[in-house]
């Protein structure tokens, strides 16, 4: 850990200080986001989260690689810590893919909501429009609640693979079959919760004299990586989130970690509240949509033509809000998906670069033939 010259040591310390500070600042900003369009856990907020992650990642790479002798990152404790990080990166790729598929589900939900809008965004609301809306609403709510089970296929009840299935059920509600979510998602026994758990285990803060060396930025990067992915899993539909951990062993005394810890606590709270019901995720737009959809479904169930004027006013208000959410999704989901893909590619590249450097270091140890 001793550096060659005092000058470079100072620069390095400075770099690491800056890195810590930037991390703290970035996540503090995320913590304080409350307004639209970046309300906490909204699409906009998640995009910001990913932006910040990419910035952290870039800075991390700079701190560890720029102008540095390969030897320095190949010797203890990095000789063990770096491969662990690279391993976490591989695990994180699966999470990225799972979450990306989750966004597909959201898009599906968006389309259903848009049908509801077409049905109810009218001056004259009659039985036809209401039944149309009801059909889409049932499918929508169904899609929201059943996301987690192995790609959304549930046994029995409203959803079935056999199309055109008949029964004695209320036909308007039951024809959700064509709108079910995607199958063939992640490998059969893959679980986002387990994956996150695996990534967060063994994540221990460096102690003693290791805590001022390169082990620290590695630890920070690990923490940020796990946190960001955990947040994505909590926010977006994703295969098998049951048992998603809500408690992380976060270092309390480190200043850079405080905003992250605060965010994590806030998200955990929310998660615990919703987990029991089975949930589409904590995404703000989905939470709002669920409420609106439920309200509108109740309205539809009790609808008698003609509806009262003030009821219609309420419907209009709900529909407007729903339209607003759909707009946000239309504008934000694809960019979000692109960003997640960008994260995927970036961490792969980072991994390759680190492997390359470690390889160089290993070669330098072999005497030339």
């Amino acid at each position: 850990m001793s550096m060659s010259m005092d000058g470079s040591h100072d620069t390095e310390c400075e770099e690491m200080e800056l890195f810590q500070r930037h991390v703290a600042e970035r996540f503090a900003e995320l913590l304080s986001c409350t307004d639209e369009p970046e309300a906490f856990m909204s699409i906009g907020w998640l995009r910001k989260l990913l932006d910040e992650f990419l910035c952290c990642e870039a800075e991390f790479k700079a701190v560890l690689l720029m102008g540095r002798d390969p030897f320095q990152i190949a010797k203890p404790p990095l000789d063990k810590l770096l491969p662990e990080l690279l391993d976490r990166i591989i695990k994180s790729l699966d999470v990225c893919n799972a979450v990306s598929l989750g966004i597909d589900s959201l898009r599906n939900i968006q389309r259903l909501a848009e049908i509801v809008l077409s049905a109810l965004d009218q001056t004259l609301i009659g039985d036809g429009q209401v039944r149309r809306a009801k059909k889409a609403l049932s499918a929508l709510l169904s899609a929201m609640l059943h996301e987690d089970k192995d790609g959304g296929i549930t046994k029995g009840t409203e959803r079935s693979r056999s199309f055109g299935r008949r029964g004695n059920k209320d036909k308007d509600r039951s024809a959700a079959a064509p709108f079910r979510s995607l199958s063939w998602t992640m490998p059969k026994n893959w679980s986002a919760a387990k994956q996150i758990h695996a990534m967060s285990s063994n994540l221990a803060a460096p102690r003693g004299n290791e805590s001022s060396g390169l082990a620290l930025p590695v630890f920070i990067m690990n923490t940020v990586l796990v946190f960001v992915l955990w947040t994505l899993v909590a926010a977006l539909p994703c295969q098998e989130r049951n048992g998603l951990g809500t408690h992380f062993q976060m270092p309390r005394n480190l200043s850079w970690a405080q905003p992250i810890t605060a965010l994590q606590e806030r998200i955990s709270e929310e998660w615990k509240k919703k987990e029991k019901k089975g949930t589409v995720g904590l995404l703000e737009e989905m939470q709002k949509m669920e409420k609106i959809a439920q309200w509108l479904l109740d309205f539809a169930d009790s609808f008698q033509f003609p509806a009262e004027a003030d009821k219609l006013e309420e419907v209009k208000a709900q529909v407007e809000e729903l339209a607003d959410i759909c707009r946000k999704m239309e504008e934000g989901l694809e960019p979000l998906q692109l960003q997640i893909r960008e994260v995927f590619h970036r961490v792969v590249r980072t991994r390759t670069e680190f492997l390359h450097v470690l390889d160089q270091a290993a070669k330098l140890n072999i005497p030339a033939s």
Binding site: D94, D104, G128, F163, G164, M186, V348, S369
Partner: protein, 598 residues
């Protein structure tokens, strides 16, 4: 209600009558007349509306009957023949038209409109079910084998049903239920696509799984994946897009393009993800062929992908595909470099026994022989990076890969020279180099490689190994030959008997020593071995014959251990790789030896 209406109608008719009469009266002013006539027109319009509404009501009632009957049934309309389905569609069109007309009339009969909309919704829901039913029932499963020759002409849905699907689309779009149509269509087609994964026997793997896969297993999966990727982009998706266009082509282009993108996006990404995982694998030289295989395939498919996904909707897929292609390009380049470095850094620790062809030489030459098969792909990848050729083999007719391959050969040679220095015996160093360069030349002469290496390189390297052969001869046999050489002054000198005795002794010792060590040396190539042996034989046997012949009177038989024939035979034992020694005991032992050595 009806009574009320007909009362109204009577009133209106009466009013119009009065109006007309008044207007015709001379007692009315021009202005008033105009007003009265306007009023009359107004009232006329009203009655037209009244009559229209009555008409519409009848139509709605008729269509309602049809539609509600089907709602109650459990069966599918389209299973019951084209008469039923066209009648149903007609009924829906009537309702559609009724709704449209009611909306455009100034008089909004809210109840009637509501009723019409209600019926329309029932019809739309039914049509959705019918749509799903048709798409599932008439889905065509296709075996991958049949794809090989039918690129582009595959039908994913029974073509006979296309007109029906189009009719349903038209009706649903016309009723502004296009969203339901698209959602249902997209969902159904997605399922079909997912099923195709099963047909292709592609399993889902997590990145972790793939990274952990070992050799054979991984190769198997890659093979399956390559096959899948080819079929998917060249045949299946082309057919899918065509299907979308057939059914939805009547509407704005963006409709079928949108549907196609929604159907395929997720599927393609999942397919590409396996490739991403493979590209992340370790980059040992053995992986080079795998990477190149995939690179070649993706490179060839790029044009299909660009065409399939050229619209805005498909840009994400297109980008991801090209990113993956580039990754394999990078991986290939990197692995090729790793290969070259592995050659350069191959450790030279132990002497290679016998001076034969080193494993490294075989490995490298066989490696690049296989590599030459990827000529095109390599060419694309390495085009900008051809190293300058220090040996000046370059010329304008050179194969594009020549530079790279010469470079590899040069690296190999360099490493071999290091290895040769491990031998203490300089002669063996030469034999070693001769063997290895000869091997390189033999391999380089083979089909693909000869085109790459070119004549000049071949000639140069033939000269090299011959050089080494000559150097070997000089080092080993030079001294021995000089023993047998006579200086002119001693030609006729009989007192050189001691001299001769010594010469014989020296010769025997040297020859024996050489025999002992060099029978253990190895020249694997029989032709080369023979050439070397013949060359030695000619010189040595000749010199020996000359020597023994010239001094036959002086030389004691005891001093001569060998005849000329012996020498020639012994030479044949050299470089065979089984060490022998000459024992100068009884002549019977020699005979035995001779027999064994043949």
């Amino acid at each position: 209600m009806d009574d009320h209406k007909s009362e109204d109608q009577h009133l209106v008719a009466a009013a119009q009558h009065i109006l007309k009469a008044l207007a015709a009266s001379k007692a009315v002013s021009d202005d008033l007349r105009k007003t009265l006539l306007d009023f009359d027109i107004h009232l006329s319009a009203m009655s037209i509306v009244e009559r229209s509404i009555k008409q519409l009501e009848r139509k709605i009632k008729f269509a309602e009957g049809k539609i509600m009957t089907w709602k109650a049934k459990n069966s599918m309309i389209w299973d019951c023949g084209s008469k039923e389905s066209s009648e149903y569609l007609e009924a829906v069109s009537e309702i559609q038209a009724a709704v449209h007309n009611l909306q455009s009339l100034n008089e909004h009969d809210k109840e009637l409109l509501g009723r019409a909309n209600g019926i329309l919704q029932v019809a739309m829901a039914k049509l959705e079910e019918e749509l799903v039913h048709i798409l599932v029932k008439h889905k065509q499963y296709l075996e991958p084998e049949s794809f090989a020759n039918e690129a582009g002409s595959v039908d994913l849905v029974n073509p006979a049903l296309i007109p029906d699907l189009k009719s349903i689309a038209n009706v649903m779009f016309g009723s502004k239920y296009h969203q339901e149509f698209c959602q249902t269509f997209i969902s159904s087609r997605r399922d079909a696509l997912d099923e195709f994964f099963v047909v292709l026997e592609i399993e889902r793997f997590s990145n972790e799984n793939v990274m952990k896969m070992e050799g054979n297993c991984l190769n198997r999966e890659i093979k399956k994946w390559i096959r899948a990727v080819k079929i998917v982009f060249q045949v299946y998706l082309v057919a899918e897009k065509r299907l979308c266009k057939q059914i939805l082509g009547d509407f704005n282009d963006s409709v079928y393009q949108f549907c196609f993108a929604e159907i395929t996006l997720s599927f393609v990404l999942k397919l590409l993800n396996f490739g991403e995982a493979v590209a992340m694998g370790n980059r040992s030289p053995e992986k080079l062929f795998c990477f190149l295989d995939i690179y070649e395939v993706l490179e060839n498919l790029a044009v299909y992908v660009d065409i399939l996904f050229f619209e805005e909707f498909g840009s994400f897929v297109r980008d991801e595909f090209h990113k993956l292609l580039n990754k394999f390009g990078e991986a290939s380049k990197f692995t090729f470099l790793a290969f070259k470095n592995a050659i350069a850094n191959d450790p030279s620790k132990a002497r290679f026994p016998g001076g034969g062809v080193h494993h490294l030489t075989k490995y490298v030459m066989n490696f690049i022989k296989t590599l030459a098969e990827y000529g095109e792909a390599l060419n694309l990848l390495l085009a900008d990076e051809t190293p300058a050729d220090p040996e000046g083999n370059d010329d304008d007719d050179s194969h594009p890969l020549a530079g790279e391959f010469w470079s590899v050969a040069a690296t190999l040679e360099s490493n071999l020279i290091s290895k040769s220095k491990l031998y203490k015996d300089v002669a063996l160093q030469h034999v070693f180099m001769m063997n290895n360069i000869h091997y390189m030349v033999q391999k380089a002469k083979s089909s693909e490689l000869s085109l790459v290496f070119g004549d000049r390189w071949l000639r140069r390297h033939v000269a090299k190994f011959r050089d080494n052969a000559r150097s070997y001869e000089r080092v080993t046999w030079g001294p021995i030959l000089s023993i047998l050489k006579q200086e002119n002054a001693e030609l006729n000198c009989t007192s050189s008997k001691e001299n001769l005795k010594k010469k014989c002794k020296d010769f025997n010792a040297s020859f024996s020593e050489t025999y002992r060590s060099q029978t253990g040396w190895y020249i694997p190539d029989t032709e080369l071995r023979e050439d070397v042996q013949i060359s030695i034989s000619q010189k040595v046997a000749h010199a020996y014959r000359q020597f023994t012949g010239r001094y036959s009177s002086t030389i004691d038989e005891k001093w001569k251990k060998h005849t000329v024939d012996d020498i020639e035979n012994y030479v044949l034992d050299l470089f065979v790789g089984s060490p022998k020694s000459l024992h100068y005991f009884s002549s019977s032992a020699q005979i035995l030896k001779r027999d064994k050595s043949v």
